[in-house]
C-alpha cells in the first residue's frame, strides 16, 4: 500500500550485562506511514529506538536509511548527530529539555555551530513560528521550559524534531502524560503530517491507541520480533496474543460492601511551589474494603496527595484522620506505626537503598521490631531468615537476599516493596503508579495483591496515569486536575478525560 521503504533496521541486537534487551530485531518503515511499535513494558521497544537514534551502539546488526533518490545508505551507528543528519528525530519518553532555557533556545540547541559568534535567534524564532502554524502544534516559546505544562513541553519536543526537517519521527510513549483529548489532538496532527510525507514510528503498550492511530503494527516480545500486522486487519485479541504469547490473565473485581472510614482528609491544605503541587481544602475519605482510584495526568497534585499519605509532606491546615483518630505529626514513621503501607512512585529514589542488601531493604521500615533487633543491635540471623521467607513468598528473584537490591530488575524491586508492605497486613495502602514500567506478569501480580488486600478489608488509594487500570481496579474514582479533586460520577472514558483536562461539564 505504501510506496517506498524509507528505513530498514536489520538484525539489531543489544545486551546489557546478562540481560538481552534486543535480539536480532528487524523493522521496516515506509514513506508517509504511521507504524506502531507495540510490546509490554520491558519488551525492548525503547532500546531499539535508542539504537536507531544513536544513543546506544548495537552489538550486532545495521540500519539503512533511504535518501531522496531511494538509495539505501547505511547509518553510522552510536551517534545522534548521524541520525539527526539522516533526518531522524526522536521525542523521548522522559523529555530532553533544559528547563532553565526557553523553547527557542532548546530548539536551537545543537542546530547551530558552537562558535563564539552572536546567535541568530530572531531568524530561528521566525522559522519556529512558521512550523507551529503549519503543524498545529503550539506552545509558549519565550517562557522558560520549566514553567510549561507537560503537554506544552511535549509539543516543544516535537517542534525540536520538525525544526530540523525531520523525515522520520519517533515518539516514545507519547500519550503517557496526556489526557485522552490531548492524545487525540496529537494523533490528528501526526496524521496530517504523515499525509504530507512524514514517516512516524510511535512506541506504545496501549492496544487501544495502537489500533486507532496506526497504519501498521510491529510487535516485540522479550526483545524479539513477535509479529507484524496491518492495522486494518488487526484486533485486540490478535495483537494482545502477539504481545504476551498467551491469553492475558485478568483479575476481576467483585462487588463488595465497604466498611468504616480508614482515612479522612478534612479541609487539608498543602502549600507547594506551584498550584499543581498544592492541595487546597481537600476533603477525601477512604473506606475499608475499597479501592479509591485517583485518575489524572501526572503532575496535577498527585504528588502532594501521595506526599501527605506517605508522611513525607506536612500540611498547612486541616486534619488527617486514620481510623477516625487525628494525626498530630505527619511523618513517615507515624504513618508506618498507624498501619499505612506505602508503595512509592519512584522505586529507586524512595523505595530502596540500592547499595544495601535485599534483606536490609526488607526490614528497613521495622527496625524497632524486637524479633529483628535486641538492645539496639541487629539480629542478623533473624533478619536473614525473615528475608528469605519473604523472598520466596513474594517471588522476589535475584542473586539472593544478601545481594545489593539495585541488582534486581524493576519487577523484582517492586515485589520486594510489595513484600515489605503487605507482610504487615496494612489497613491503609497507598499505591502510587504501582505498575509503571512493569511487564504484564508483574503488573498482574500487583493487581492481584491489591484486590486481595481489598478483600481482607484494607482501604487502598490507587494513583495511576493509566486510565484503564483505574477503571478496572477502582470502586470509586476521583479525578485530579491542577490541585483540585472532583468525584467522577461516570465511568465514561471521554467524560473522565474532560475532567482530567479540567473541562468538566
Amino acid at each position: 500500500m505504501y510506496s517506498d521503504k524509507i528505513l530498514a533496521l536489520k538484525g539489531l541486537s543489544k545486551t546489557f550485562g546478562t540481560i538481552a534487551a534486543n535480539c536480532d530485531v528487524n523493522l521496516d518503515l515506509h514513506r508517509g506511514e504511521i507504524l506502531a511499535l507495540l510490546g509490554e513494558n520491558g519488551a525492548g521497544k525503547t532500546t531499539l529506538m535508542n539504537m536507531l537514534f544513536g544513543h546506544y551502539m548495537p552489538d550486532a546488526g545495521q540500519i539503512e536509511v533511504a535518501d531522496a533518490n531511494q538509495r539505501f545508505l547505511p547509518l553510522t551507528l552510536g551517534h545522534p548527530q548521524a541520525a539527526i543528519a539522516a533526518g531522524i528525530g526522536m521525542v523521548h519518553q522522559h523529555f530532553t529539555l533544559a528547563e532553565n532555557l526557553d523553547a527557542v533556545d532548546n530548539i536551537m540547541l545543537g542546530a547551530e555551530p558552537l562558535t563564539l559568534l552572536p546567535r541568530k535567534r530572531a531568524a530561528a524564532e521566525k522559522k519556529i513560528r512558521t512550523i507551529m502554524a503549519q503543524s498545529g502544534l503550539t506552545a509558549p516559546i519565550n517562557v522558560a521550559v520549566g514553567k510549561l505544562t507537560v503537554g506544552e513541553r511535549q509539543r516543544v519536543e516535537i517542534l525540536k524534531a520538525l525544526y530540523r526537517d525531520v523525515k522520520i519521527l519517533v515518539l516514545d510513549e507519547p500519550t503517557a502524560v496526556l489526557t485522552p483529548q490531548e492524545a487525540d489532538a496529537l494523533f490528528e496532527n501526526i496524521r496530517a503530517m504523515a499525509q504530507d510525507g512524514l514517516s512516524v514510528i510511535f512506541i506504545s503498550h496501549k492496544l487501544r491507541e495502537v489500533l486507532a492511530f496506526s497504519h501498521r503494527i510491529t510487535v516485540l516480545r522479550h526483545g524479539k520480533n513477535a509479529g507484524e500486522i496491518q492495522t486494518d486487519q488487526a484486533d485486540e485479541q490478535k495483537i494482545a496474543r502477539m504481545m504476551v504469547g498467551s491469553e492475558t490473565l485478568s483479575h476481576t473485581r467483585e462487588m463488595q460492601e465497604n466498611g468504616p472510614a480508614l482515612l479522612r482528609f478534612k479541609r487539608v491544605s498543602v502549600q507547594g511551589r506551584a498550584r499543581r503541587d498544592s492541595l487546597k481544602n481537600v476533603d477525601l475519605t477512604v473506606f475499608s474494603g475499597e479501592i479509591l482510584g485517583i485518575a489524572g495526568v501526572s503532575g496535577n497534585g498527585q504528588t502532594a496527595l501521595a506526599g501527605v499519605i506517605s508522611g513525607m509532606l506536612s500540611i498547612e491546615s486541616g486534619e488527617v484522620l486514620i481510623e477516625e483518630q487525628p494525626l498530630l505529626d505527619i511523618t513517615p514513621a507515624a504513618m508506618i506505626s498507624r498501619g499505612v503501607g506505602r508503595i512509592p512512585e519512584d522505586r529507586h529514589r524512595d523505595g530502596i537503598v540500592g547499595s544495601m542488601s535485599v534483606a536490609e531493604n526488607m526490614v528497613i521500615e521495622q527496625l524497632d521490631d524486637p524479633t529483628l533487633q535486641r538492645n539496639g543491635l541487629l539480629r542478623r540471623d533473624a533478619i536473614r531468615d525473615y528475608a528469605e521467607t519473604l523472598s520466596s513468598e513474594y517471588d522476589v528473584r535475584g542473586p539472593g537476599a544478601q545481594a545489593s537490591a539495585r541488582l534486581l530488575s524493576g519487577g523484582n524491586i517492586q515485589k520486594l516493596i510489595l513484600a515489605r508492605v503487605f507482610d504487615r497486613s496494612p489497613k491503609l495502602i497507598l499505591a502510587n503508579q504501582p505498575t509503571r514500567g512493569l511487564d504484564m506478569g508483574a503488573a498482574s501480580e500487583v493487581a492481584r495483591r491489591l484486590l486481595e488486600a481489598r478483600g481482607r478489608g484494607a482501604g487502598i488509594v490507587l494513583i495511576s496515569e493509566d486510565l484503564d487500570e483505574i477503571l478496572k481496579l477502582s470502586d470509586r474514582i476521583l479525578v485530579v486536575h491542577d490541585g483540585a479533586f472532583s468525584i467522577a460520577k461516570t465511568r465514561d472514558r471521554a467524560q473522565l478525560g474532560l475532567m482530567m483536562a479540567g473541562q468538566a461539564a
Binding site: H55, M90, L101, M108, L114
Partner: protein
C-alpha cells in the same frame, strides 16, 4: 565616625578592587564549572598552583605575560584531571576536588622548595605595575580607583564581560547552560556532554589559576607558603551568593574586597578595644552568612553534582 571618610577615599576603593581581583577570577572560574554541572573544589589548590607556576615562570625569565600564560596552562591541566575523574568516570566531585586541592598544593610546594632550597627570605620578581593610561588615569576619583590598577585587574574585568557575553549571546553559552540543567537535552541534540563539561572545567580552572597568579605577580612579588589562605573556598561561597551570574559575581567580589579593605582600616581606627582577630575572622564569617542567605536560591544548576553516563536511559 571616620567610616564615611574611609568610604569616600580613593585609596579605599582602589584597595577594594585590588583585593577583589583574585576573587573575580576565582568566582568566574567556579561559576563556569558549576554552571556546566561540575563542582570544582580543586580551586584552593589551583590558586596555589597558579601562584607558584606563574611566579616561577617569571623567575625563570618568561616575562610577566609568559607567567600568566603558564599559570593558565597549569590551571587547565588540573582542570583536565578533575574533568576526567568527574565527567566520564563519574567519580565523586567532592572527593576529586579535594584530592586535586591536596595534589596541586603539594606539587607546588614541593616543586618550589626543590627549585629554591630554604632561603632567609623568599626571592622576588618585578611584578605588574599599576598602569598609567593617558587621560583616563587622571580623572578625579574614578581615575585612581579604576584606571591605575595593574593589567591583571583589567584582565579580570574583561573576563567578566567575556563570560557574560558567552553565556548570554553565543550558542556555546546555551549549550553550557543546558548541560548544567539536563545533560540529556544536549546529548539528544547530538552534542557531546563530556566535551562540553570537561572544556568548561578546564576553562574555569585556567581562570582560577589566574587568581592565584595575581597574588604572586601583582599583589605581591614573591611566593609564600600559605598565601592563598582560603580565598578559593571564599570564591565557592561567593558563587552561590552570585546565583551563578557573572554580573552578580563581580558585584559580590567587589563588595567582599571592600569589606576586607574596610576591616584593615577599621583595625587601625578602633585599635585596642576590639581584638584584631575579630577583623581577621570577619571575611570568613561574612562568607558563611552570604552562603546561608543564598542557599535556597532558585538558580541552582539542576544537574550539578550528578554524574551523567552515556547510554544510561
Amino acid at each position: 565616625m571616620d567610616i564615611l571618610q574611609i568610604l569616600f577615599s580613593e585609596s579605599f576603593w582602589s584597595a577594594s578592587i585590588r583585593i577583589a581581583t583574585p576573587l573575580i577570577f576565582g568566582v568566574l572560574g567556579a561559576l563556569i564549572c558549576e554552571k556546566s554541572g561540575v563542582l570544582n573544589l580543586g580551586i584552593e589548590g589551583i590558586f596555589v598552583a597558579g601562584a607558584m607556576v606563574g611566579w616561577m615562570a617569571v623567575w625563570l625569565g618568561a616575562g610577566l605575560w609568559g607567567g600568566v600564560l603558564a599559570a593558565a596552562l597549569a590551571g587547565a591541566f588540573f582542570g583536565l584531571l578533575h574533568g576526567i575523574l568527574t565527567v566520564p568516570l563519574g567519580l565523586s566531585q567532592h572527593v576529586s576536588g579535594l584530592g586535586i586541592t591536596l595534589f596541586a598544593t603539594s606539587v607546588s610546594y614541593f616543586s618550589y622548595r626543590t627549585a629554591l632550597p630554604t632561603v632567609s627570605s623568599p626571592p622576588r620578581i618585578t611584578p605588574f605595575r599599576p598602569l598609567d593610561i593617558p587621560l583616563l588615569s587622571d580623572l578625579p576619583f574614578i581615575g585612581p580607583i579604576l584606571f591605575q590598577q595593574t593589567a591583571l585587574t583589567f584582565l579580570a574585568l574583561f573576563c567578566v564581560a567575556v563570560v557574560w557575553y558567552i553565556f548570554n549571546k553565543t550558542a556555546l553559552g546555551v549549550a553550557l547552560k543546558a548541560v548544567g540543567d539536563n545533560p540529556n537535552s544536549v546529548d539528544a541534540q547530538g552534542l557531546s556532554v563530556y566535551t562540553l563539561r570537561i572544556g568548561a572545567v578546564m576553562a574555569g580552572s585556567a581562570l582560577m589559576a589566574l587568581g592565584g597568579a595575581f597574588l604572586t605577580m601583582s599583589a605581591f612579588d614573591a611566593f609564600f607558603f600559605g598565601m592563598v589562605n582560603g580565598r578559593g573556598w571564599i570564591c565557592i561561597a561567593l558563587v552561590i551568593f552570585a546565583s551563578w551570574r557573572p554580573g552578580k559575581a563581580l558585584l559580590g567580589a567587589i563588595l567582599f574586597g571592600a569589606f576586607d579593605a574596610l576591616q584593615v582600616r577599621l583595625q587601625t581606627e578602633v585599635g585596642g578595644s576590639v581584638p584584631s582577630q575579630v577583623f581577621l575572622a570577619a571575611p570568613y564569617v561574612l562568607s558563611i552568612i552570604a552562603l546561608v542567605i543564598a542557599a535556597r536560591s532558585a538558580d541552582y544548576p539542576r544537574a550539578l553534582l550528578t554524574p551523567w553516563f552515556k547510554g544510561q536511559r
